[in-house]
Each structure stands twice: as structure tokens, then as C-alpha cells.
Amino acid sequence: MKEINLKWFSVTKTELYIILGAIIAPFIFYFSPYIQGLLIFIMMWVILGSSWNLLAGYTGQVSFGHAAYFGIGAYAAALPFYHWHISPWWGLLTGGIAAVILGYLLGIIVFRLRGPYFALGTLATAEILRIAFGEEEWLTNGHNGILYITTWVTKLPYYFIVLAIALGAVFSIKAVMHSKAGFYFLSIREDEDAAKAIGIDTAKYKNISMAISTFWAGTAGAFYMIYMGFIDPEIVFALHNISIITILVGILGGVGTIWGPAVGAVIMVFVQELFRSAFFGLAPRWVGNIHALVFGLLVIFVILYMAGGVVGDWDLIAKKFRRTKPKEAKA
């Protein structure tokens, strides 16, 4: 079992390279808008995955309904525009806050539940929101969705905005995990009753974890609205395409690791594009239709053979490729 080493907040050299790489990335491939579009989606999944990972991977509250917060963030950006023509850009401020408020309210219900019941409770709340936002047309324009002519045609500025948000999410979570709250989250994950016995107000700290997590999920939702210029309830509250893929991103990269969700996001978007484009046109066309099937297989594979995800099981994976003698684990 990998030891969790909590050092005080820092930006390591590797992280610096990652950040530099992320800044340069959109300029290679001849400024290809296609690549830039993919990079934007990667960053969105980095935010969502990291957000989920704080609550599920670090605090042990496995949410099956993160679409609720993504969706409410998107609508926080869209609704004032739809009703009063207030710019959706304000959503970058209000989206996160709306999600935090929603998270707090839903938390009153779902935090009474433990383990798989929590998972189902979050799933149910997200589904109820999806249905309600589709039905209440006076408020949300229902399934017709809300349309907004995006500010820029070029993708580059969007990329840097979403990159900034993603870095904010990853590093804020990293900082939190190196503080008292981080220790408390882990304690709650490992043993909630034992955590109480060492003086941890578990209810309060679950709410704090929820608040940070939902803030970033909501901000990601608001960004989605601004960038795509169109949302409807089936898109932003989607059970499979948002909630479940968020989990996939988390477990693929590594639950309970800082950079796991980021790695998971890169792999997920890459695999999706690989199949969607039928291996860039090299494979028969039907391959393009099975990318969702591949995700399902990935979930199964990761759970069976790579429970720690790419980052969590990196040592094991690296060993397999190096074919060196496995080093004896620290005694």
C-alpha cells in the first residue's frame, strides 16, 4: 500500500514543468483549433475530476451525482442571461457559489447517509434536478435549452481561462490536503467514528470538503456555458456523460492523489478522441461509435487491475514496463 506523504504546500519541479507544458500546449500543432478544443475539454475534466476526488477520494464520500453541481453552475451563468440579459461571464463568480449553496442544501440530506447509500442519494438528487430543470420551462426554457452567442470565435482565450481555473482547483486542493482540514478529510475517509473520537467535527468537515468540491464543479459548469454557448438539462445534468465520466476520470488517474484526476482527464479525452475519430481515420468507421463502450470497459479494467489508478499504482505500472526486479516494499 502506498504511503501518503503530506508535505507542506509547495510547487515541485515536475509540477512547474506540467504548468509550462500546459501553457505552451495550444501553440504547438500549428495552433490547431481542433487540438485547442481538446485541451479545453481536458482542462474541464481536470476541474471536475479534481473536485470529485476531494470529496470522494480524500474524504470518502463517493458522489455519483456531481452533475448536479456542474449543472447548477452552468445554469447560474445561463439563467440571468436568459431572463435579464446579464452576461454569462458573471457565472465564473456565481456558478461556484450557487453550487456551494446547492451542495450545502443537498448535504443536509445526503450526509445522513453512509457508503453506498450516500452514492445513491447523490445520484438521486442529481437526477431530480435534471428532471426538474427540464420540466420548469418558465424558469429554464426546459429542454429547448439556453443559447448564447459566444464572445470569441477563437479558442485560445478560453483555453487560458479554463487552464487558470484548473490550476486554481488543483493547487487549492493540494493546499487544503496539506493543512489541518486535509488530515481531517483523510481521517473521515478511513474511519468516521474513530475520527470523531479524536475530536473531529465530522459533519462540519464533510461540509467543508463538499463546499470546496462543489465550488470548482460549479465553476466548471459556468465555464462550459460560456464556452459552448448552449446548455440544456440533459447535457449539464447528465448521469452518464457527466457524473459517471467524472468518476471514471478520478479512478482512472488515481483516487486520492493530487494529480490523478489530471492524468485521468488526459487519458479519458485522448481515448475518447481516438475512438471517436476511428483512430484518426485509420480504423473502420464503426469504431467511432464505440467510444462509450470503451469507457465502460475502462471502468471494469481499472477496478479489476489498477485500483489505485495510473498515479496511485505508478510504481507497479513502471515496474511492469521496466521489467526490472520488483523492489521490496518498504518494511
Binding site: 478511513e190 474513530a194 475530536g199 467535527d201
Partner: protein, 249 residues
Amino acid sequence: MSILVLENLTKAFGGLVAVNNVSLEVKEGEIFGLIGPNGSGKTTIFNTINHFYLATKGRIIFKGIDITNKKTFEIARLGIGRTFQKVRPLKRLSVEDNVMAAAFARESTFEGSRKVAREVLEFCHLGEVSHMPAGSLPIAGRKRLEIAKALATRPSLILLDETAAGLNPAELDEAIDIIKKIRSELGITIIIVEHIMKVIMNISDRIHAIAFGATITEGTPKEVASHPTVIEAYLGTDATLVGGDYAGA
């Protein structure tokens, strides 16, 4: 002065009365033993004191404050630490991180908490294994980790639930040594539940004996050991005098 007072404490689970009208007073600075056969309600008393269970009847008073209805984490912060009979380390965290998580009860900074944790780990002879994952410790280490976690919350009263069970003789002596030092060096009052008579008779100032959830007698180790009902209760369940790791509580 009494640090902890139980007044007519009763805990029932449906029709089953696990603790029946127990009253006791623990004085500041003493080592107070709690004995009784398996299933007599000792762990239930601990679980009621730190509010894993809500008392059915009676009151619990700690340092003059009624804590009967306080939440578990509040009780820990007021200064009651406890260990678990069935050890509950935060498995995937290192030993040091386990203790740091507890130390944050009084410390707000990373460094402050780490300093406390290291002191406590030295105290419990865990300094050398502080970077091991807690889940990989052998049983003696896990038992001491339980104590370390409780101590790191800086309690004025500590509840030790069978911290000596399952240890070999050398480990046992080490454990007794640590328990004695908890009072002599840290000045912490101790309530100890233990099956191993050698331990409890040796270190307790006073002992409270219960059976079937109710008080039998209370007094010095000598007085209690010679009490006919205690002898009967223990001879009735032969294993308890020998000691061992029993899951029952």
C-alpha cells in the same frame, strides 16, 4: 476532586440492558480500573462516556460539566481521549499522520501538530516506525498507536480499552510502563478496562467491578480481588483470568 462522575448510568439496546444503573467517581490523577467478565458492559460504558451511544438514563459529568448530551467530537475536545479495543488506525495513513490528525485537535498549524505528534510517538516508543503505513504495524504497535492518538489530543482523562490484550510478555511490560508514565509524566487520569489481571491489579489505584452491566463492588485491588462475587464471576468464566484477545465487549 472528581474528574469524572457517572450518575446512575443506564444503557439499554431495545430490551437488552447492557449497563444498568452504574454510578462511579474517578478522582483526578488516579488510575481507575474497570473489570468484569466478557460482555459485562465495560466497553459500552466507554462508548456511552464518549457518546458513541446516548445514555438511556443517568448523567455523565466531566470536570463539573454535564457531557451526557455532548457530541463525540466535543467530548474529545473537552479532554477525554480514548483507545479502541478493536484497534482502529487510519490504515492508509502513516503512523505519524495518524497521530498528527489527532494532534490537530489542539494545534492549528502543520508544524505545531507535527511537533506534538513526534513527541507523542517518542513517548509511545513508535518513533522509529513513524513513516510506516498504520495498517502494516504489528498488533503491539497498533495498540500503542491507539494510545498515541488519544494522547495527541492532549486529554486530561484517557480511557484505555484493553490496550494490553494480545501482547506477548515483553510487549506487555512495555505497555504497562507506558501506561504508568502517562500518569507520572503527563499527569493524565486513566480509566482502564483490562482482562489481564496482572496488569490491572498492578497499576490500578482503585477498581470498579461489574457483571451483567451492574456494579458488584468497588475498592482497592486487594479488596476487589477478595470479593466473593468477583471471584465467582471470574471463576465462572475461566478464560478471563488467563487473559486473551476477546472480541466481545
